[in-house]
């Protein structure tokens, strides 16, 4: 374990909204080849944590460090989301955010944007290099669609896809940005058990075949137990536990957080 390369290192991340502390000094690490999970009850601050890491919010305190392999370390605090993505960190959204009036293929092609270069003038002139680049975008996007099993829908509008397929499309779109770390925000939300099982497989495949490390948020603890290690648990903005699935299962604080959820909700 120890010799694995550390990709993402978050130290003491804190995010305040006015007087409300949504995330309270949370630290977390993701290593190469890992499928890490961040779980916790509703409103624990998981998505806010994601938004801080991907640049949508600027955290109040703490450090977010990215250690790309073979490149110098970068601090992500305050960077714009598109810069974060360029650095190799892509994400999906809890409430699906597809480009609904674009085709499935185009959605993935958008992901290729930051890895291609044709500007306005070159797009107008459309010389050979631009045409080649366009072809490359189409081909690689199509390959990604095949990987997530959506190739047959390539020319459909994204909004016409079934729910589960939309989630997979979001993953394909994120992968098109060539990340080395993929952040998935509740990828299984709203899926039926069969779809969830397929998704688990897909995530494992991405991790193994594409060598992309994954950090995923899940609300439901059971789902992540099969595929994730390590697991981090948040409650009320604080990290309350971390460790292997077995350690988490046995952790009394986690049990309390999940069992106490209903009774303490109104407090």
């Amino acid at each position: 374990m120890a010799e694995k390369h550390k990709l993402l290192e978050v130290k003491g991340l804190t995010m305040d909204f006015g007087g409300l502390r949504a995330v309270d000094s949370v630290s977390l690490e993701v290593h190469e080849g890992e499928i890490a999970a961040l779980i916790g009850p509703n409103g624990a601050g998981k998505t806010t944590f994601f938004n801080c890491v991907t640049g949508i919010y600027n955290p109040t305190k703490g450090d977010i460090l990215l250690h790309p392999k073979g490149l110098p370390t970068r601090r992500l605090n305050g960077l714009k989301p598109n810069k974060v993505t360029e650095m190799g960190l892509a994400r999906t959204f809890q409430n699906i955010r597809l480009f609904s009036d674009m085709t499935v293929l185009e959605n993935v092609m958008i992901g290729r944007h930051c890895r291609t270069s044709a500007g306005i003038f070159r797009s107008i002139i459309r010389d050979k290099s631009v045409r080649r680049e366009e072809q490359e975008i189409v081909e690689s996007s199509y390959q990604l669609l095949k990987k997530v099993g959506l190739a047959e829908f390539a020319n459909e509008f994204a909004k016409n896809l079934p729910y589960g397929a939309q989630r997979r499309l979001e993953i394909a779109r994120a992968m098109a940005t060539e990340p080395f770390l993929l952040l998935l925000d509740e990828p299984a939300a709203g899926m039926n058990p069969q779809e969830t099982a397929e998704l688990d497989q897909l995530i494992c495949r991405i991790s193994e075949e594409e060598r992309i490390a994954i950090l995923l948020i899940e609300h439901d603890m059971k789902l992540v137990m099969n595929i994730s290690n390590p697991i981090y648990v948040m409650e009320y903005g604080k990290k309350i536990a971390e460790g292997s699935p077995q350690e988490i299962k046995d952790n009394p604080k986690v049990i309390e957080a999940y069992l106490g959820e209903e009774t303490e909700e109104d407090a």
Binding site: F17, T47, N51, I56, F93, Q94, N95
Partner: protein, 300 residues
């Protein structure tokens, strides 16, 4: 010092009218995040209806304050009816459509209503009867502030207090605030959201109509086009103050009124509008949510 005071009061008068109209913009925006571009036309229609009713009444021999009151009531009734119908026709079918659609629909409605009044009535300027009498006791200060200005200031002040009471103290007001916070949640707890939206349009229209009657009797003329500039300025005021915020709309209206008044008084009235819009751009750059607006965190 006198000069400053005059400009201050002039700006206050103008600003309080802007504020009255801006309230309509801000309340509607607060609930359905739509710039009701046709709101300025409601103001114009209010003034027109008041003119017609006042005209009929004076011709049939009525006079004095009763004409003003009856005309104002008619203006409010019809402005509310137009506001209600406007929402039903142009905005309700577009609930849930992309953001640009209701906005374009609103611009279309604004153009439509302007030309509807132009064709139904006239393109000419019409004289609006002078319904606000000159008060005796105002005579010594008349060169600084006249009776109509006083009436405008008092009316807007009272209207705003009533509005605040309505929103803070009544059940309807509570429902409005709830809808503004979270529409789907409000629906879940049994608030008839559609009715609340209609009500918001009606209240906004009533305020605009009051503004329309006050301005028309202040400047003494009405024309189908008066709603456009007033609407644009009032909307600017709403954005300045922080759209969605009711005290913001009032503050924004006053700030805009003073800006224009002082710009015209101390710099040049040539560039009055440039100052108004310049201020808007400046404030939006420094505080994108407006002076009193809260930055709405977009849910991701």
């Amino acid at each position: 010092m006198d000069y400053f005071l005059e400009l201050f009061l002039g700006g206050l008068t103008r600003g309080s009218i802007y504020a009255l109209i801006a309230l309509g913009y801000t309340m509607v925006y607060g609930i359905i995040q739509l710039i009701n571009f046709a709101h300025g036309e409601i103001y114009m229609i209010g003034a027109f209806v008041a003119l017609i009713v006042a005209g009929i009444l004076t011709i049939y021999g009525f006079a004095g304050i009763s004409v003003l009151v009856l005309a104002a009531i008619a203006a409010i009734i019809w402005a509310c009816a137009y506001g209600y119908t406007l929402e039903k026709i142009a905005y309700r079918p577009l609930r849930g459509a992309p953001r640009l659609s209701p906005l374009i629909s609103a611009i279309g409605m604004s153009i439509f209503l302007q030309n509807y009044v132009l064709l139904a009535q006239t393109s000419d300027f019409l004289p609006f009867p002078n319904l606000i009498p000159d008060f005796e006791f105002m005579e010594p200060v008349a060169h600084i502030i006249g009776s109509p200005e006083l009436v405008i200031l008092i009316t807007t002040f009272v209207t705003m207090i009533l509005l605040t009471l309505l929103i803070k103290k009544t059940k309807v007001g509570k429902a409005m605030r709830a809808t503004q916070q979270d529409m789907s949640m409000a629906r879940l707890v049994g608030i008839n959201v559609d009715r609340i939206i209609s009500l918001t349009f009606i209240i906004g229209s009533a305020l605009a109509a009051i503004g329309g009657v006050l301005v028309a009797s202040y400047i003494g003329q009405v024309n189908f086009y008066i709603g456009f500039l007033a609407g644009v300025k009032a909307f600017t005021a709403a954005v300045l103050g922080g759209i969605g915020s009711i005290p913001g709309a009032v503050l924004g209206g006053l700030v805009l009124g003073w800006t224009e008044s002082f710009a015209a008084g101390y710099v040049s009235s040539d560039y009055e509008d440039v100052f108004a819009f310049g201020l808007l751009v400046l404030i939006l750059i420094l505080r994108p949510a407006g002076i009193l607006g809260k930055a709405r965190k977009q849910k991701v």
